[in-house]
């Protein structure tokens, strides 16, 4: 017990601050990837074949590429070869590269989550929208997406939970976040090895469980009764 308390004394602040980095990564990447995913979903249901083709290609490429590879690519190629600078601050640069990596990857999953919501909207709704003279974008905005998003809450919640946990992959992109701290603790404090894992897991459980409960609650409450 004393050993565990001393672990907190030494690494407590670092654990909290690096976990805060995970939350920040998640926050920005969630906003960006929901936006990008929304556009991709629109493309995939649009009447224009080339846009549909692009949306499908994007989803298939990035959904099937491991996130670690995307993240490592960001560092080894963007930073290593082209020396891309997204910020004058050295570490902020990696933080932003990581957000881009997380966004590119999760946009594909958000796109599919939103599209699964679109599939809950009966075809008759789209036909009715067209019948009253709405073209594709107004029909999507006023008729299809409002119903689709309500149906997409549960899968989007799942994708968000995956995003929170995947933010630990940012370690591969040289971002100081919780899994890096965990490696440091394992290196220096093998005497409390298993407790280190359990502590870090608890951090995620505390954040993820409320999100799971909330998305289940909302998906039930907001579901369109048919």
């Amino acid at each position: 017990m004393d050993a565990y308390l001393s672990l907190w004394e030494t690494y407590g602040p670092q654990m909290l601050s690096t976990f805060w980095t995970n939350i920040q990564l998640t926050f920005w990447a969630a906003i960006a990837s929901v936006t990008l995913g929304g556009f991709l979903a629109l493309m995939r249901i649009s009447p224009i074949p080339s846009l549909r083709w692009f949306g499908t290609a994007y989803v298939n490429i990035f959904r099937n590429t491991p996130l670690t590879i995307i993240m490592t690519f960001g560092v080894l190629v963007l930073f290593g070869v082209f020396q891309v600078q997204l910020a004058s601050d050295f570490n902020l640069n990696f933080f932003r590269i990581a957000i881009i990596g997380l966004t590119i990857y999760h946009a594909a999953f958000f796109c599919e989550a939103i599209r699964s919501g679109v599939n809950t909207v009966p075809l008759g709704q789209a036909e009715a929208a067209r019948a009253i003279g709405l073209s594709f974008l107004p029909a999507a905005r006023h008729v299809i997406l409002p119903q689709a998003l309500r149906g997409a809450i549960a899968p989007m919640g799942n994708t968000l939970i995956a995003l929170i946990k995947n933010s630990t992959v940012a370690t591969a992109g040289s971002v100081a976040e919780i899994s890096g701290t965990m490696k440091t603790m394992i290196e220096f404090r093998p005497d409390v090895g298993i407790l280190v894992f359990l502590t870090v897991a608890a951090f995620f459980v505390i954040v993820v469980i409320p999100i799971g409960l909330l998305s289940t609650y909302l998906s039930k409450k907001l579901a369109v009764a048919r």
Partner: protein, 280 residues
Amino acid sequence: MRKNRIAMASMAAVAALTLSACGGSDEGGTGGEGSEGGESVRIGIKFDQPGLGFQEGDTYTGFDVDVAKYVANELGYSEDQIEWVSAPSANRETLLETNGVDMIFATYSITDERKERVAFAGPYFHAGQDLLVREDESEIAGPEDLEGKNLCSVTGSTSATKVKELHPGINLVEQSGYADCLGLLETGGIDAVTTDDIILAGLAATEANQGKFKVVGNPFSDERYGVGLSQDSDMCEDINAAIQKMYDDGAWEEAISANTEGTGYTPNDEKNPPEPDACA
């Protein structure tokens, strides 16, 4: 009713896990002392550390491997009685406690925190944290010259933590392995790589990196590589005697130079070869 049963089952599972976790370290000893009547010995090494412990097909090369072979031979195991086991840094204590290996030779620094869970024989090598730079580099002679420059190390490693503490002005890029660092060093994204000198020399000595990099040769830490043993192992004295013999007959020095050839690296000779510690 159904729910109850699931809850019971999961509680039982948790209890079983907890119990087996406690039992592991106690039972470890009985198996270890037996040593299976001299049939084979399981040795933990790194599989991905060129120059120290490296797997190519079914052959294993490197300084740690050479020392391990010598020691095993002195303990009465011939080379084909050795079973090599991969021992990545995060798993080393657990491997010893659960009796997954009999000993570990894997750039395993002796520290007090580790002694809480495992025992050490040796040390058999005294390493120091150093820098690896591009062959044509002339401005970097130590970490002081890296202020505002980019340095690479492995996430969570002792070396990364140390350099952050000592020189907060250095831009530290943390990667998951040294191979990624070397890639960045070659393309110019970073100016130096840091970890223990012999690990750097081993990386620079690989065929693919021949002539591209050099070790600066200005070590700034003390890492004493020991032989990891389980706490109730009785092999410590014999291993120390074997290490001493390896120094005396010159095999130790031969192993060093063979594994760092062509990098201009020589170990710190004030501290090498190190006197093995007394066994606890």
